[in-house]
Amino acid sequence: MNHSSPLETATPVHSMDALLQYRKDAFAREQGILSAVSILGQSVIGAALYLYGHVSTPGYLSILLTVPWALLIAALSLYLIRHAKDGAVLEAAGKTPGKIFSLMLFPVFFLDAQLAAYAISAILSDALPRFSPLITMLAVALIMAAAMGGENEYALPRLAGMLRWPLLIALFYCGLTALPHGSPGYLFPLLGRGTLSIFQGALWMGGCTAGACCPLLIPSPSPSLSPFQKKGRMLYRPLLGALLAAALYALISACLLPAYSLARPENLGFRLLLFTKISGSSLAWSLLVFAQLFLLLLTLAAGIMRCAHLLTGIAEKRKPSPLLTGALLLLLVPAAALKTLPVQDALIRLAPFRGAAVMLVLIPLCILTWIRERRKQA
């Protein structure tokens, strides 16, 4: 029986095996959505932190150019997932190499979280200038630690799943209400500062979104949900959707302000809340602040959760301790609170290296897995 219409019963489920497969799919889909939300969050941060200043109006082209790169990372991840035992993807090459690979991936996700924390701090300084950034970031870290602590490993992907449409709708509603105040003329010259800057932007954004492209490398919290869904659509679809949404976001941003006003390097908070400065709608203002903050909080939480899972995997434990999550969150506070240009410069310089780190893990892991498979067949 095929229920294809959206008005019909959603799922034909007749057996326990089908039901179990459905759960595995749902778990993989949630991880894919969390990954997509992280990609969107990292892209929004990347657009404000790097693309506006260094690439100017064709930032959306840079984001679109990262699509093949993201698909390559996802394909390599998927290859590993298909050959992993019980979801322990990083251990496919052996226990010790697995731990080394985990250690290599750790800074990637930590930097993801650090960038998100930095962006939150920038918005807070812009929206709440009377509070000390250190105090506000400390409060953010402590509340997030309390929210993410305990036996709550499924909560974040589920929350991302629940909030994905409200977030997207809010962001684009704000963009659309601001659009009449912009001008297509701001898009010219179409190539901004030239093709080289667009490719450099793509390289930077590729590094920025690299970590978020391989969500399924993190072991499943429940053995019954492993091995993961073997179909790639669970991973590719949200990934492509997020990158297209990010490109659209950058395109709308470019239509709103002339190129010279995007070049101010110091005020990240201003650029993150760009639509609100232009849109006359008070509802759009509120929605955008909420959507941005939620998106960044989810991105931050996703980065920290993955860091905690990696460290837990290295320590050969099943679940991350709430203390570990709290400690990782507190580690983010100093750099996030210090909104100085050297910190911003350091983040901008480090961000593209995340792509290289991910590749340094994925390629040898894939080769080792391939060799092992060949030996088995022989």
């Binding site: 029986m1 008005l7 019909e8 019963t9 959603a10 799922t11 489920v13 007749h14 039901l19 459905y22 759960r23 799919d25 749902a26 778990f27 889909r29 949630e30 807070l124 929206a127 709440l128 509070f131 506000t136 409060a139 953010v140 509340i143 997030m144 309390a146 929210a147 993410m148 305990g150 036996e151 709550n152 490993e153 499924y154 909560a155 974040l156 589920r158 929350l159 799943g161 629940m162 909030l163 008070s282 203002w285 509120s286 602040v289 909420f290 903050l293 939620f294 909080l297 939480a301």
Partner: protein
């Protein structure tokens, strides 16, 4: 070391009448408790005694079916056990059983059964002659419906089981008796649909109930708190209903019902957030009406949760997010008020909660006076005296209306607590505080489970489901059982529900 309290002494009922009588007199505290009755008489020439609680047994039935037949009992045939002879040939009762241990016998006596002991008889006979006063099942007070039956549970466990069984006439409906409380056991009943409810779930509930290490469980609410997955959570993790028809609907979805003596409601496990959001008459109505009402309820919930906090955040921290006319109005009205907007909002919210609580506790006849005093006089006077801004009162009133639209009382209270938390957060940190507060509440809620089933299923995570969530589509599209209970047979039907359409011929 302190000795554990032992309200029910242990012991064995033997053939020695005097010894048994003394044991029962002492154990049942017959000398201290005036309602514990011990009636001694001669049964087939042997000394015998009836032990019961006055008022808990039906005296007419006691006389007619126990005392009189016992006094006129035919002689005991040779080689026949006295207890068996009494049960088979003397007492015209279906529910008589032999009990050999003191503790279960006392439990039965204090539950309204009558006990008979006799010299030379091994053990005691316990007869179900309950006759205590109980309320006739009436209208459910807190779950009224426009379309649907108007019958609710009462405080008798037996009546409540019957109310459910009357609606679900199938041997597949299993009613399993259990007790909870290790010193003074309270009777409970587990109901589930065999072949639909997952046995792992049934076993898990049994395990949790058996694992309640408590002397006495006074209510179903207490039991709920003892067996729920995450007791620190703000949200309830068991669906509660006063309506047998709703309990039956839970059963058909594969959920397990818990009934308890003296509780005029049932608990259903596992449950999800949607069970709190759905009203009992949604299914009885046409799907368009049901969907419209559900969307209204969702709007009400969001208003109740967010409106006061949003108003505080916007007025105090982000005036740029308000339109100029609204901002002028806020500033003008607030200028005349001595309290800050944040304090006013908190105070009015607390007063509103106080009125609600007083409304629940006040005797029925005074309800009208209370609403006049609180709603009209107090509100009007507070505004005229420039104690509160009228905008604050309007915001609290609208959010109160929103919370009243929620069908579940537990969810209403959760919303009210969350609302206070969010007002506090937005009063401290504006939108940041509100977003952080909301993030905290949402992520805790997203990780919640009920009997290990995800709370926000079938949406997060995705589970097989009917189009019966935030909106409700036609009943004939709902071919599956709710996925949250993970029922053994998922499909309600394999084929078209409106099968007659297929064979319909043109006139």
């Amino acid at each position: 070391m302190e000795q554990a309290w032992q309200p029910q002494p242990q012991g064995v009922i033997t053939e020695d009448y005097q010894c048994n009588l003394a044991l029962l007199q002492k154990a049942a505290r017959a000398r201290e408790s005036e309602d514990v009755q011990i009636h001694e008489f001669l049964l087939l020439g042997h000394p015998a005694a009836l032990i019961y609680i006055d008022g808990m047994v039906n005296s007419e039935q006691l006389q007619q079916f126990l005392l009189e037949p016992a006094l006129h009992a035919p002689a005991l045939p040779e080689n026949t056990d006295l207890a068996e002879h009494l049960m088979q040939a003397v007492l015209p009762l279906g529910s008589v059983s032999q009990v050999f241990h003191l503790s279960p016998l006392l439990t039965r006596i204090f539950s309204g059964d009558a006990a008979l002991i006799c010299d030379t008889m091994n053990g005691a006979l316990a007869a179900d002659l309950k006759g205590f006063v109980r309320r006739i099942p009436g209208k459910p007070v807190n779950e009224t419906v426009v379309v649907g039956p108007h019958e609710g549970f009462n405080e008798s466990l037996r009546d409540n089981v019957v109310l459910i069984r009357r609606l679900m006439r199938t041997p597949a409906l299993i009613s399993e008796a259990m007790t909870v409380g290790n010193k003074i056991p309270a009777r409970i009943c587990l109901l589930y649909l065999d072949g639909i409810a997952r046995q792992e779930n049934v076993e898990e509930i049994r395990r949790r109930i058996r694992g309640c290490n408590v002397d006495y469980v006074s209510s179903l609410g207490m039991l709920e708190q003892l067996i729920e997955d995450k007791p620190w959570s703000l949200l309830p993790q068991a669906a509660s209903t006063e309506r047998p028809d709703r309990a039956v609907s839970f059963l058909s979805e594969g959920q397990i019902i818990i009934l308890m003596e003296n509780a005029p409601r049932a608990l259903a496990l596992p449950m999800g957030f949607l069970h709190l959001y759905h009203a009992p008459d949604d299914t009885n109505m046409r799907w368009q009406y049901g969907t419209f009402l559900r969307l209204l309820r969702m709007a009400g919930m969001l208003i109740a949760l967010l409106l006061p906090a949003l108003f505080v955040a916007l007025s105090m921290f982000h005036p740029e997010g308000m339109s100029l006319s609204l901002l002028t109005s806020v500033l003008e009205t607030q200028a005349r008020v001595p309290l800050s907007l944040f304090s006013s909002m908190l105070l009015v919210l607390l007063i509103f909660s106080l009125i609600n609580e007083a409304g629940v506790r006040v005797p029925g006849a005074m309800g009208g006076s209370l609403s006049i005093v609180s709603g009209l006089i107090l509100g009007q006077a507070a505004v005229e005296a420039d104690l509160f801004s009228p905008l604050v009162i309007i915001i609290v009133a609208v959010s109160g209306l929103g919370s009243y639209a929620v069908p579940s009382f537990s969810l209403t209270l959760s919303l009210r607590l969350a609302q206070l938390l969010l007002v506090l957060a937005s009063g401290i940190g504006g939108y940041l505080g509100l977003t952080l507060g909301l993030f905290f509440l949402l992520i805790r809620a997203a990780g919640l489970t009920s009997l290990r089933s995800p709370y926000f299923a079938p949406n997060a995570p995705k589970r097989p489901s009917n189009p019966d969530g935030v909106v409700r589509l036609p009943v004939w599209r709902q071919r599956l059982r709710g996925g949250i209970a993970n029922p053994f047979h998922m499909n309600r039907t394999l084929g078209r529900m409106r099968a007659w359409e297929k064979n319909e011929e043109e006139p």
